[in-house]
């Protein structure tokens, strides 16, 4: 099976649970499980080749210009991690089926789980580091969903948020680090990067890259000082904790360190950072774990401690230590997943995870007792279980580093023994109690089979390490250290009397003593003052949020004048800075002589602008000025040989005026004076500078020759797009995709107006409207006969013009957009003349449907080109003859233009009709007839009251 498919399978399968849950919980779990099983089988088919030392690769070019390719490769390390992710994933799916309550939405859970699984598999199989980063972020997001799965619990939500904040921040740092790494090597392919150790370590950028990458790895793997999120993530359902915190999410950081070990390790910086953080995390996690009364809290901190142990081993930097780290990753995944599942079983059956309320479960839950005991003893490092093997090897490696390291890891191991034994002694041993929240008993087979399988592995690896995992450790170790030349190590229970054995015995004996005097230590621990990570974190987040608020309020406090002032002032400043840095000579182009028409236009627009400034507090007058300026601009476009723009500008102007007048009816007609004179002078200065700047810029551009893409459009318009109207060909062909996006935006905007007004009319605004009184006396004639008749006469003419403009648009000025506006204006006239009620009754098509039809037609036109193996929205054209018409050209773009046309008509009409609907909510009466006085009727038309 292709590696890309293995990584993609969980993502594709994530759609299944949501559908299958309708067929029942068993079917849903089965479907989810089969997806994972399929991916696992695909992976295992590669296993023999990988264990032979082969590296399997799959390459798919994605965005080569960015260096982003969907390249995957599978070596020993990838095989180990992918195997853990999929294998334990399978067990977790089984376990979760029986763990989740009936009220929990199981389909959702499995969907999140599969998304997470896919992201994890993606990380460990990626060859391209940019691809790896994408998967890395996906794990942060999907784990957020999983941790916050019980969204009704505040701890769940807070834990999820904290995990996302910490790992997300690390992810950000990792992106920086990886980009630097890729920059140093000049390639984003891991296989290439791994061969350039010398280059990377001698680079000046090695230290920043290392720091950023380690920040990403440490946050993900909960290393000190980022360990605090992991215990809070325990608010998740236990299957999530078992999956994320034993085998997957937290191991992603370890995977990253192991993956980049050949190129990053071996320097002093690496040793102190990685081994140091690992050592601190290991000891601190073990100490805290001992004093946690929550079963999952204990396991969480023990996980932190073991992650620290593995990090330390990777940090030591010797080949043997790296191999030991790999071995411990396997062992930790097996016993820790089993332990989490037993904790979940106890919680599920006894309804509490509080160690203080448990005890004596040995006879009540014998199966769970056996499973938990074996797994705990392995965690404590008791022979002949697998935890003992790797712990011995670890102790030996630490002792080799120096006395201090040896001492510290022995202390860590001692606490590790103590909390492991506590999991057995305080939960299962001791007298039976009669105050359990629920009567504990062993769960059904489905729930204990998963941990049981893992415990069998724990024992088997312990007894026959070489047979079970020997080849895997060898291949993976080889992949981590980046050579097939493995150092000497021996996976065996008995290595003779050596320093490691001595440390081990001391740790077990002292650990037992610590547990013996646990109440004494606990008192000391509870009396001690220590920083509470969550409080610090919350305060920090609070600080950031307040800071962000302050900055935001400074720039965006909701006042339009402030946005504009800041925006314009900074544009002027940047422009000025750029101006000072450039040359200031005038252009070489010859200037045109002044002629009468432009001088008149210039005088008109200057006067209009000044007048607008003078009258702007009277809103109706300023609207009149808007129309004046719009008219002058249209004339300007026409004069500058852009008839398309002139037509569009004029139609848009009309629609805008109508829209604003509709709104103005319900708004104050005067703008009050709010600004101080000082502020007006300041704003005037900003505006003046901006105006001068733009003038200068235009002068500079227009007096220079410059290359534009206009020539391409002009040349290619007919041969490429089949039209002589370049503007239209650009709209529907060259930049058709932009237009497609724009009509969608237009449609969405119209729907937005609809939604806002609809919601407002249902709310308190509706009551205010009911009391609405017009602010001046109205003239008597509501629907003047002259106007009604005139608009009826114009309608067919206007529609014909619309069709004409539409049809010829490809070659002459016009097109779908202008035609849409013209038709909308023709229809609007009917609304104005005969009123909303009359016009709406004759409107047979819903405007929503027209918008939708327009967008769908445009989209289908685009999709149509796929059938001819052309990219989206390619256009074709040909010539046809239908007698008696003369030969004409038909371009596929015309169908696209129909879409544009319909969307424009639908959007404009929906927005305006919706605005005029507001009037229906006032107490003003409405007229159902076309005119106030109908000459056909004998009696005056009846007047109907509005509701």
């Amino acid at each position: 099976m292709s590696l890309a498919l293995i990584a993609a399978l969980p993502f594709l399968g994530a759609l299944l649970p949501g559908i299958m849950i309708r067929a029942g919980r068993n079917t849903c779990a089965l479907a989810t499980g089969s997806v994972t099983a399929l991916a696992l089988i695909g992976l295992l088919l590669h296993a023999p080749a990988v264990l032979q030392g082969e590296v399997i690769q799959t390459q798919i070019t994605w965005m080569p210009l960015l260096g982003l390719n969907a390249n995957f490769f599978l070596d020993g390390l990838g095989l180990l991690f992918a195997g853990l992710i999929l294998g334990i994933g399978l067990l977790i799916i089984t376990y979760a089926r029986f763990y989740l309550a009936k009220s929990d939405p199981m389909g959702q859970f499995y969907t999140y789980l599969l998304l997470f699984q896919g992201a994890m598999v993606g990380i460990v199989l990626s060859d391209n580091i940019l691809l790896l980063l994408i998967f890395w972020e996906l794990t942060s997001l999907s784990s957020f969903l999983l941790i916050g799965y019980w969204r009704h619990l505040p701890e769940g939500r807070q834990g999820a948020r904290m995990a996302l904040a910490v790992t997300g921040m690390g992810g950000l740092a990792l992106i920086g680090g990886m980009l630097i790494l890729g920059h140093i090597v000049g390639s984003y392919e891991l296989t290439v990067i791994l061969e350039n150790r010398e280059l990377i370590q001698q680079s000046d950028l090695y230290a920043p890259a290392l720091l950023l990458i380690l920040l990403g790895a440490f946050t993900k793997s909960a290393q000190f000082p980022f360990h605090f999120w992991l215990p809070h993530a325990m608010a998740a359902p236990t299957p999530v904790s078992a999956y994320l915190h034993s085998a997957t999410m937290v191991k992603a950081g370890l995977f990253l360190m192991a993956r980049l070990w050949p190129v990053l390790s071996g320097t002093d910086l690496w040793f102190w950072l990685v081994a140091g953080a690992g050592l601190i995390t290991m000891v601190m996690g073990a100490v805290i774990a001992l004093f946690k009364d929550d079963l999952k809290g204990l396991l969480a901190f023990s996980t932190v401690s073991h992650l620290g142990l593995i990090t330390m081993l990777l940090g030591i930097g010797t080949d043997v230590a790296a191999v030991v780290a790999v071995f411990h990753i396997i062992n930790h995944a097996t016993f820790k997943a089993a332990l989490f599942m037993t904790a979940g079983i106890i919680d599920h059956e006894a309804h509490t995870r509080d160690i203080k309320r448990l005890g004596g479960l040995r006879t009540l839950m014998p199966v769970t007792f056996v499973l938990a005991t074996v797994a705990s003893l392995s965690m404590a490092g008791i022979p002949p279980l697998n935890g003992f093997l790797s712990k011995e090897m670890m102790l030996e490696q630490a002792a080799d580093v120096g006395f201090f390291f040896g001492l510290m890891v022995t202390i860590g191991a001692m606490f590790s023994v103590a909390y492991s034994l506590r999991y057995i002694v305080h939960v299962f041993l001791g007298p039976k109690r009669d105050d359990y929240p629920a009567k504990p008993h062993d769960p059904g087979f489905g729930m204990w089979v998963s941990p049981a399988l893992l415990v069998v592995l724990v024992v088997l690896i312990g007894l026959f390490p070489n047979t079970i995992v020997g080849p895997l450790v060898a291949t993976t170790g080889g992949a981590v250290i980046g050579s097939t030349d493995l150092p000497y190590y021996s996976l065996a229970l008995w290595h003779g009397f050596n320093i490691a054995l001595l440390m081990s015995v001391a740790a077990v004996a002292l650990g037992y003593l610590v547990l013996r005097f646990h109440p004494l230590f606990e008192e000391l621990w509870n009396d001690a003052r220590r920083p509470e990570a969550k409080e610090i974190f919350d305060a920090l987040i609070d600080l950031c949020a307040r800071g962000a608020d302050r900055v935001t309020n400074l720039l965006h406090d909701g006042a339009m004048t402030r946005y504009l002032a800041i925006f314009t002032a900074s544009a002027v400043l940047f422009g000025f800075a750029a101006f000072m840095g450039g040359t200031h000579g005038s252009g070489t182009r010859e200037t045109l002589p002044m002629s009468v028409v432009p001088i008149i236009g210039w005088l008109l627009i200057i006067t209009a602008t000044i007048v607008t400034l003078m009258v702007h507090r009277n809103r109706l007058l300023s609207l009149v000025m808007v129309a004046v300026i719009g008219l002058i601009i249209s004339i300007g476009f026409a004069y500058l040989s852009a008839p398309d723009l002139a037509l569009t500008q004029l139609s848009v102007e009309v629609v805008t005026v109508i829209l604003l007048l509709l709104a103005l009816h319900y708004l104050p007609k005067e703008t009050p004076v709010e600004s101080t004179p000082g502020r007006r002078i300041r704003d005037g200065a900003i505006a003046g500078f901006a105006g001068l700047g733009v003038t200068g810029l235009l002068y500079a551009i227009m007096t220079r020759d410059h290359d534009t893409i206009s020539w391409f459009h002009l040349e290619q318009s007919y041969p490429g797009g089949g039209g002589t109207n370049v503007v239209n060909v650009i709209l529907v062909d060259f930049r058709g995709f932009d237009t497609f996006g724009e009509i969608i935006v237009l449609g969405v905007a119209a729907l937005g107006i609809y939604a806002i007004i609809d919601a407002a009319l249902r709310g308190p605004a509706s009551r205010r409207l009911a009391n609405f009184k017009p602010d001046f006396r109205r003239a008597g004639d509501r629907h003047p006969m002259m106007m009604v008749v005139a608009t009826r006469v114009i309608l067919p003419v206007a529609l014909t013009v619309g069709v004409f403009i539409f049809l010829r648009g490809h070659n002459e000025p016009g097109g779908g957009f202008i035609a849409g506006l013209v038709v909308s204006i023709a229809l609007l006239m009917q609304y104005m003349a005969s009123g909303f009620t009359w016009a709406q009754k004759r409107q047979r098509f819903d405007y929503h449907a027209i918008i939708a039809a327009g967008i769908i037609i445009a989209a289908l036109t685009g999709v149509g080109s796929w059938f001819y193996d052309a990219p989206f929205l390619s256009s074709a054209f040909d010539y046809y003859t239908i007698p008696p018409l003369s030969e004409f050209e038909l371009a596929s773009a015309i169908a696209f233009d129909v879409g544009v046309f319909l969307t424009v008509v639908g959007s404009v009409m929906l927005a305006l009709a919706e605005l005029s609907r507001i009037g229906r909510h006032t107490s003003v009466s409405v007229n159902k007839d076309a005119m106030d006085i109908d000459p056909r009727a004998d009696t005056p038309a009846a007047k109907v009251e509005g509701h």
Binding site: L603, V628, A638, H783, E812, I825
Partner: protein
């Protein structure tokens, strides 16, 4: 001869436009200003047609047709607003 006549006509309509904007700027009340705006549209149409004749191109003719068709709508809307407040009742 024709060219000179066209130039004179264009200039006249240009001056007319300037006079229109003077009314827009100085008139009392909204009514006169709207009327001046409507006159501006008409003058603009005339000017474009003349310009089209001058350069012997039909493009301006079509543009000015459309101006004529939709240009008065805003005037109607302003009038309805002044008379009835609500332009679509």
């Amino acid at each position: 001869m024709m060219t000179i006549a066209l130039y004179i006509a264009i200039l006249s309509f240009g001056v007319a436009l300037l006079m229109n904007i003077w009314v827009v700027a100085r008139a009392e009340g909204v009514g006169d200003r709207v009327l001046a705006l409507d006159t501006m549209v008409i003058n603009a149409i005339a000017m474009m047609i003349l310009y089209g004749i001058l350069h012997a191109t039909p493009v301006y003719f079509e543009v000015s047709m459309l101006f004529a068709m939709v240009g008065f709508i805003s005037t109607v809307a302003y009038c309805r607003f002044m008379l009835r407040g609500n332009i679509i009742e």
